[in-house]
C-alpha cells in the first residue's frame, strides 16, 4: 500500500542515528521546559525555535515534534503535582490529578497520564498516517471561498467555546485581529496600520506575539505577585505505577479520550482544550465511582490526558494538508516550516514527501522515547520544579528575549515583543483570555485574504459562499458550533431538569 511504503520510508529516514538523536534531544528539552510551571507546549516550541536554525528541515521538524510532545508530557507533570497547568489543555487534568497527588496517589496519576499519552499519541498518529494523505488530496479542491468558511468555523468555535466572558473573549480576539492586520496587505501591496515604521511592513511575526503574550506576559504576571504566593510541590510517595484496578479504570478512558481528541483536533476548533474538557465531562458521567470525583478519580486524569495528546495529531491534519494552524502551537510549527521555505498545504505531501513521512514516523518514535523518559526518570523532572521561581522567571525572560533577538538581531522586534508582553500582563490581570488573541493573529490574515480572493474571483457575487457545497457544509458546521455550548441547557430543558448554567464554559481561555 502506498501509505505503508511511504511510512516505511519515513521510518528508514527517522531511524538514522542523526534524526534519532534530534528526536531524543527534542523530547528531552521539551519535557525539561514543559515541566516548568506556566510554560505550555506553544511557548516551549517558541523558546526553542532558534536551536533548530542550523539543522536541515527534516531534522529541525523532527526535533520540533519532539519538543512539542515533550512539552505536553512535561505539562501534565506540573498540572498534577503543582496544580499549575501550563496551558488550558491541561486544566482538565488538574481537577482530579492534583486531588490524586494530595491524597498521596501522585505516582498513579503521573503513570496514567504518561501511559495514556503514549496510547493516545500512538493511536492518533496511526489515524494521522491514514487520514492526512486522503485529506491532502481532498484539500486540493479547496478554493478561497472554502478556506474562508473554514476560518469562519475556526473563529466561531474559538469565541463561542472559550472563556468565561464572551465580551472579554471577543475583545481579546479583536486585539489579535488588529495585530494580524499590521503590515503589507497581501492582495494590494498596501502598507496597513504600520504607523510609519518600516519594521512593521512585514507584520508582527507570530513568534514575537507568542513569546510576548505567553512568556513575558506570564513572567510579569507571576512577578507581580511573586512575594504573595507560595507554591508547594506535592511529593510522589509511592512509585510511578498503577495497580491492577487503576489499569482497568484507565484504559477505557484512554481510548475514549483518543477518539474525542483526534477529530476535535482535526476540526479547526482551536486545538486541544475543548476535547480535554469534553473527555472530562464524559468520564465523569460514565464513571461508576461518582463519589471519588473531586477527590482523585483516575479516569479524570486518564481521559483528558489522552484527549490532549490525540488532539495534537489531529491538529497536524489541517496544518499539514491545508496550511491552517488551529492552535498557537500549530502556528509556531507553521513558522518553523516557513523558515525552511516549506509551505504546508495541499502540495506539501507531493513536494516534500520525505520530510512529511519522516516527521510522522518520528512521532511514533518520540512517543516511545517519552514513555521511557517519563516513567523511570520522572523524579529527575520533578527536581526541575524545585528551581526557585525568581531564577525561573528571570530565565524565561532571558530565553524569550533570545528567541526573538536571534531571529534578526533586531532591537525593534524585541521591543515590540516586550510591548506585547505588557499587553499580555494587563490582559491576564483584568481577566481577558489570551488564547483568542493569538488565534486572531494567526487566522485573520488567512480569513481576510481568502474572503477577498473569493469575491474577486466571483466578481463581487456573495453567493459563492453558499453555492459551493464545501463552503456551505463548513458554514453549517459553524452554525452548529455556535449552538453546541447551549446544548446541555437545551437537553436539560427537554428533560425538564433544572438548568445549571446557560452555556458550557471550556477552560479559562489561557490557551497554551
Amino acid at each position: 500500500m502506498d501509505v505503508l511504503t511511504n511510512l516505511l520510508n519515513g521510518f528508514a529516514s527517522a531511524l538514522t542515528p542523526q534524526y534519532l538523536l534530534l528526536a531524543a534531544l527534542g523530547v528531552t528539552l521539551g519535557t525539561a521546559i514543559g515541566v516548568l510551571p506556566g510554560i505550555g507546549p506553544a511557548l516551549t516550541v517558541a523558546l526553542l525555535l532558534p536551536l533548530t536554525y542550523k539543522f536541515d528541515p527534516t531534522g529541525a521538524l523532527i526535533m520540533f515534534a519532539g519538543i512539542y510532545y515533550g512539552g505536553m508530557y512535561g505539562g501534565s507533570t506540573t498540572s498534577i503535582l503543582l496544580n499549575t497547568p501550563g496551558e488550558s489543555a491541561s486544566v482538565a487534568t488538574t481537577f482530579e490529578g492534583f486531588a490524586m497527588a494530595k491524597s498521596g496517589r501522585g505516582g498513579a496519576a503521573l503513570a496514567t497520564a504518561a501511559i495514556g499519552s503514549f496510547v493516545a499519541g500512538t493511536i492518533s498518529t496511526l489515524l494521522l498516517t491514514f487520514v492526512a494523505p486522503v485529506m491532502a488530496k481532498f484539500a486540493l479542491l479547496f478554493q478561497p471561498a472554502d478556506y474562508f468558511s473554514l476560518t469562519v468555523l475556526a473563529f466561531i468555535s474559538v469565541t463561542a467555546l472559550v472563556g468565561k466572558s464572551l465580551l472579554r473573549g471577543l475583545t481579546s480576539l479583536f486585539i489579535g485581529l488588529f495585530i494580524g492586520l499590521i503590515g503589507i496587505d497581501v492582495l494590494t501591496g498596501q502598507p496597513r496600520l504600520t504607523f510609519g515604521m518600516p519594521e512593521l511592513l512585514d507584520g508582527i511575526d507570530v513568534v514575537v506575539v507568542a513569546v510576548g503574550l505567553f512568556a513575558v506576559g506570564e513572567a510579569l504576571y507571576v512577578a507581580a505577585q511573586i512575594r504573595h504566593t507560595k507554591e508547594e510541590i506535592l511529593p510522589v510517595k509511592k512509585g510511578v505505577w498503577m495497580t491492577r484496578e487503576e489499569w482497568q479504570r484507565s484504559w477505557p478512558a484512554w481510548l475514549r479520550g483518543t477518539l474525542i481528541g483526534f477529530p476535535f483536533g482535526a476540526l479547526p476548533a482551536g486545538g486541544a482544550e475543548i476535547p480535554t474538557f469534553l473527555s472530562y465531562t464524559i468520564e465523569k458521567r460514565l464513571s461508576k465511582y461518582k463519589e471519588e470525583w473531586g477527590k482523585g478519580a483516575i479516569e479524570g486524569v486518564a481521559g483528558p490526558e489522552a484527549a490532549n495528546n490525540a488532539a495534537f495529531s489531529g491538529v497536524l491534519v489541517p496544518l499539514l494538508t491545508l496550511g491552517l494552524p488551529t492552535s498557537a502551537t500549530a502556528a509556531i510549527l507553521l513558522v518553523a516550516f516557513q523558515i525552511y521555505n516549506l509551505q504546508p498545504g495541499p502540495l506539501l505531501f507531493q513536494k516534500s514527501p520525505e520530510l512529511v513521512w519522516a516527521l510522522i514516523a518520528s512521532l511514533y518514535i518520540g512517543n516511545v522515547m517519552l514513555l521511557i523518559l517519563n516513567l523511570p526518570l520522572i523524579r529527575i523532572w520533578i527536581k526541575i520544579l524545585e528551581i526557585p521561581r525568581t531564577l525561573l522567571y528571570a530565565g524565561i525572560l532571558v530565553f524569550g528575549t533570545l528567541g526573538v533577538y536571534s531571529m534578526a538581531n533586531s532591537f525593534v522586534d524585541v521591543m515590540i515583543m516586550y510591548a506585547i508582553g505588557v499587553l499580555g500582563f494587563f490582559m491576564r490581570r483584568y481577566g481577558f483570555p489570551v488564547g483568542p488573541t493569538i488565534l486572531g493573529v494567526i487566522l485573520l490574515p488567512m480569513a481576510e485574504a481568502q474572503f477577498r480572493r473569493a469575491l474577486s474571483i466571483s466578481q463581487g457575487d456573495l453567493s459563492i459562499f453558499v453555492t459551493r457545497p464545501l463552503s456551505l457544509a463548513l458554514l453549517l458546521l459553524a452554525v452548529g458550533a455556535v449552538l453546541l455550548p447551549y446544548l446541555p441547557a437545551l437537553i436539560a430543558r427537554i428533560r425538564r431538569k433544572p438548568v445549571q448554567s446557560g452555556r458550557i464554559v471550556f477552560g479559562d481561555g489561557q490557551e497554551d
Binding site: P50, L51, Y53, K54, S165, L167, R168, T171, F174, I175, L177, F178, L181, D185, L187, T188, G189, Q190, P191, R192, L193, F195, V216, L220, A223, A224, Q225, I226, R227, H228, T229, R389, T390, L391, Y393, A394, G395, L397, V398, T401, Y405, S406, N409, F411, V414, M415, Y418, G421, F426, R429, Y430, G431, L444, E448, F451, R452, L455, S456, Q459, G460
Partner: protein, 171 residues
C-alpha cells in the same frame, strides 16, 4: 496606575479604576485604528473588497467592545470580575512590574553595545533581585554562565548571529 499616596486607595477602588482605564484604553485603540485606516492606500486593478474594509471592521469592533466593557465596569458592573480583579490587586506589586519592564528595555538596548553575553550576565541578577532573590553572588554567577554558554553555543555551534559587543576579539 498608582493613585496619590495621600489618599491610600483600597484594592477595590484600584481594581475598579484599573478596569475602567482598561476600557478607555480599548476605546482609544479603536479610535487609533480608525484614524490609521484613513491612511491606507486603495490599491490598484480590479478590487471588490479593498484593503480598508477589514481594518475598519476591526476598528469599529474594538471601539464598540470597549464601550460595552466600560458599561460593564460602570453602569452595570460585573461583580464577579470586579471581585476577581480586587483579589489580584491586593496581591499585585506594581513596583516589581515597573522595575522589570524598565530593566527589560535597558537589557534590549544594551544587547548590541555590550554584547549578548555581558548584557545577559548583567540582566539576569538584576531581574532576579527585582523578583526578590537574595543571593546576589549566585545570581551573578548563573547570569554570566548563562550569557557565555548561550553566546558561544549559538554562534559557534548553531550558527546564529549574536552581538559580541565589548568582548569582540576575546570570545
Amino acid at each position: 496606575m498608582k493613585q496619590n499616596a495621600a489618599q491610600p486607595a483600597s484594592p477595590a477602588a484600584l481594581a475598579l479604576f484599573g478596569l475602567r482605564l482598561t476600557a478607555l484604553v480599548v476605546i482609544f485603540l479603536g479610535g487609533v485604528i480608525l484614524t490609521q485606516v484613513a491612511q491606507i492606500g486603495s490599491g490598484a486593478g480590479f478590487i471588490v473588497v479593498g484593503p480598508r474594509v477589514f481594518p475598519t471592521i476591526v476598528g469599529v469592533g474594538i471601539l464598540l467592545l470597549g464601550v460595552l466593557f466600560f458599561l460593564r465596569v460602570t453602569a452595570k458592573p460585573d461583580q464577579d470580575l470586579i471581585s476577581e480583579v480586587t483579589a489580584e490587586e491586593a496581591a499585585t506589586d506594581w513596583t516589581t512590574i515597573l522595575l522589570t519592564s524598565l530593566s527589560l528595555v535597558v537589557y534590549a538596548s544594551l544587547l548590541k553595545p555590550l554584547g549578548y553575553a555581558l548584557a545577559t550576565g548583567l540582566f539576569f541578577p538584576v531581574v532576579s533581585r527585582i523578583f526578590g532573590s537574595q543571593r546576589l553572588r549566585r545570581d551573578v554567577f548563573i547570569g554570566i554562565t548563562l550569557g557565555l554558554v548561550i553566546y558561544l553555543s549559538f554562534t559557534r555551534i548553531l550558527g546564529v548571529r549574536l552581538p559580541a559587543g565589548l568582548l569582540a576579539g576575546i570570545l
